[in-house]
Point group: C2
Chain length 402, copies 2
């Protein structure tokens, strides 16, 4: 590894030096010009993608910004699992490069808030325990583009969401291996190793706390859809918090801590809070568990009269999705649709199809899912930043049948 | 489309002209030099892959020939579904090109042996009915490389197999739409449209018959792992016969016929027959239903002493895999392993893990699956062409623990 780049690596991870550096090495003092740290975000390739996501399929994506790329509604496919080249990107920090990451098997995860704190290498985690699970990754702001007050942030419609299969080490196995939780642990707090050193951790450190009960499902993953997690999706090691919004699935995870309090960084304290329009603060609910939601994937604009197969996806958040209904008249009358394809567990979405006959005309097709006794509401819950939209009306599609 | 290439397309499909061409157009009389028809098979790119599979991940594959590429044992990943770029290739005919295929939605499927024979476009099939299902694609000769008598053909070990998610139209919906089966239908016979015209259909036509009972699970698919089926995997439309060996999943499918007899082409009559060494003929069983099988995926060569996570895949063919055992002493003693990850239905494979502690030394790790009351045998069933190998001993791995 070139010496200069090695310094970037150590430098990046220095935010964890409060107790010990993740890399286990003293940080270099060099302050890097921001242009170096973020170079991989601004260097767009010939296909209109930033070079660090050059492996993505351009035609499957809507580019909102150099850190925000949405999957076209039609590009999630019908195969339950979203193809990796189609999966959305939403980054708070620049993606770490191969050079910054170094040997993936030597990536370190520090564990605190347990009886016997330890630091694991990725190779050690692979030999501790393994689980494979399908989960939905969904940005808290997915659906923001439907809000009337145009909240700040990427104007996602449906495509800041994907259903993926991960393999990693269960957090419960790590806790057990570390002798159990320290007393007073109320939160599972995960910290990303991706913040460039010159930034202020209070403002830029991606550190997220979730209720300790979530540890039973959570895991740290090194594989997604059968391959090593790409850097742009937070490899070599990413926190996976089934049923919780994307931000809690911390990328490039370097530390897990079982803490008495929520983290005090901006991304926990003030960002990702569901507050009324015009208000903000840590007293409002954090973007944690995802609500029940569904949307139509096909058709999107037109169809030929006669047999029409309407298809879509439905998810239950942390609950199993139990029921899906479709309306072709904008919600005046509803019929039950059927789930199709494999049931990959409550944290995955289900595909649904609704076979119907339509005469020429205009239709508003909407879908409404239920899970854990709750159904999607008709309208969005208005909130300052446009988070957690699961209203069925906005997610409908207007179709011309000819 | 260039006129010359359009001719290739019509020419290719002319074998179906007995009743009507699939493309619905009279075939051009031009006889093509074989070098044009097979050009896409011999033109190897810089990465050592034939250009028509240039999108594959070279490092995931073992190249046996220009029509046979195997997935490395380690490259199927832990995510149940095999990444498409890692999936094996086994072709009897050259892959059709985009130009030969033309507009994918206009691809035609002729249906015979029903009360009201019809020809569907792919667009029509998409609007008739849809199902999504995970199935295993496995070459009949997977495991041939373990046979002692070195049968002719690619010397596959474990990697001519993949677990994939398909979306398509159920054959049962097509039968219903065509008014039901004609009387006397005993086989579902599917015909590929990929044979270059200058070849003799009796010798080169890929046409496969399977027992009519298989129609209830079978479907014609246009999507795999969330994307249009790539040409090299038989797009735009491929027969999917859950639980049946790969050859029955006819690529570039142009005709479905419900027939009283099995097809008389070579690929049905004499190839893919499980006959004793030194014997051949249509009196021997065809490669239809796959038997129960499993193999170790990790570790493959070495491990560090202490905790070792052994992982692998197990499949039941047409039956649900019910049980998986692992032995670290070459089959002297067995312990139950646990399934992990989503259960995607009986036609998919299950991932299994076996967490153990190993001291330094040499180990032979083997796995043995059960399904439908049957377990894998210890030894392979010797046969002329090395088909249907599911013996557990040959599939074991020798590991050095240090």
């Amino acid at each position: 590894m070139p010496k200069k780049i090695k310094k970037i690596n150590s430098s990046r991870r220095n935010f964890l030096a409060g107790s010990a550096t993740v890399a286990g090495a003293a940080a270099a003092a060099t302050v890097l010009p921001i242009s170096i740290a973020s170079a991989n975000h601004t260097d767009k390739g010939a296909r209109g993608l930033p070079s660090w996501t050059g492996w993505k399929k351009r035609s499957a994506l809507i580019i909102h910004s150099d850190k925000g790329m949405e999957t076209h509604r039609a590009a999630i496919g019908n195969s339950v699992i979203t193809p990796l080249r189609h999966v959305y990107i939403r980054n708070n920090m620049p993606t770490m490069s191969d050079a910054q990451i170094g040997n993936r098997n030597k990536w370190k995860l520090k564990v605190e808030g347990v009886k016997n704190p330890k630091t694991y290498t990725l190779a050690q985690l692979k030999q501790l325990a393994q689980k494979t699970e399908a989960t939905i990754l969904q940005c808290s702001g997915n659906g923001r583009g439907f809000f009337g007050h145009k909240p700040r942030g990427s104007q996602w419609e449906t495509g800041a969401a994907a259903c993926l299969i991960w393999t990693g080490c269960p957090v419960s196995a790590i806790i057990k291996d570390c002798g159990g939780l320290a007393s007073g642990a109320k939160f599972l707090t995960a910290t990303g190793a991706d913040m460039p050193k010159q930034l202020n951790p209070k403002k830029a450190l991606v550190e997220r706390s979730i209720p300790i009960k979530a540890q039973k499902d959570a895991f740290v993953a090194w594989e997604v859809n059968g391959v090593n997690i790409p850097n742009s999706h937070g490899g070599p090691l990413r926190m996976v918090t089934p049923g919780y919004f994307g931000i809690n699935n911390v990328k490039h995870v370097g530390k897990l801590a079982f803490t008495a309090k929520e983290s005090s960084v901006k991304y926990m304290k003030s960002s990702y809070r569901i507050s009324p329009i015009g208000k903000k603060g840590s007293q409002y609910p954090s973007c944690w568990e995802m609500p029940v939601k569904s949307w139509i994937v096909s058709p999107l604009k037109s169809a030929k009269s006669g047999n029409v197969v309407v298809s879509g996806v439905a998810m239950g958040g942390t609950k199993k999705v139990s029921n899906i209904k479709v309306s072709v008249d904008g919600g005046k009358s509803w019929k039950k649709a059927k789930f199709t394809g494999p049931d990959m567990g409550k944290f995955a979405w289900r595909r649904f199809v609704f076979e119907t006959k339509l005469k020429p005309g205009n239709y508003k097709i909407v879908s409404k899912a239920s899970a854990g006794g709750k159904s999607q509401p008709k309208l969005r819950m208005e909130n300052r930043r446009g988070y957690a939209h699961n209203g069925w009306l906005d997610h409908g599609v207007d179709i011309k049948v000819s």
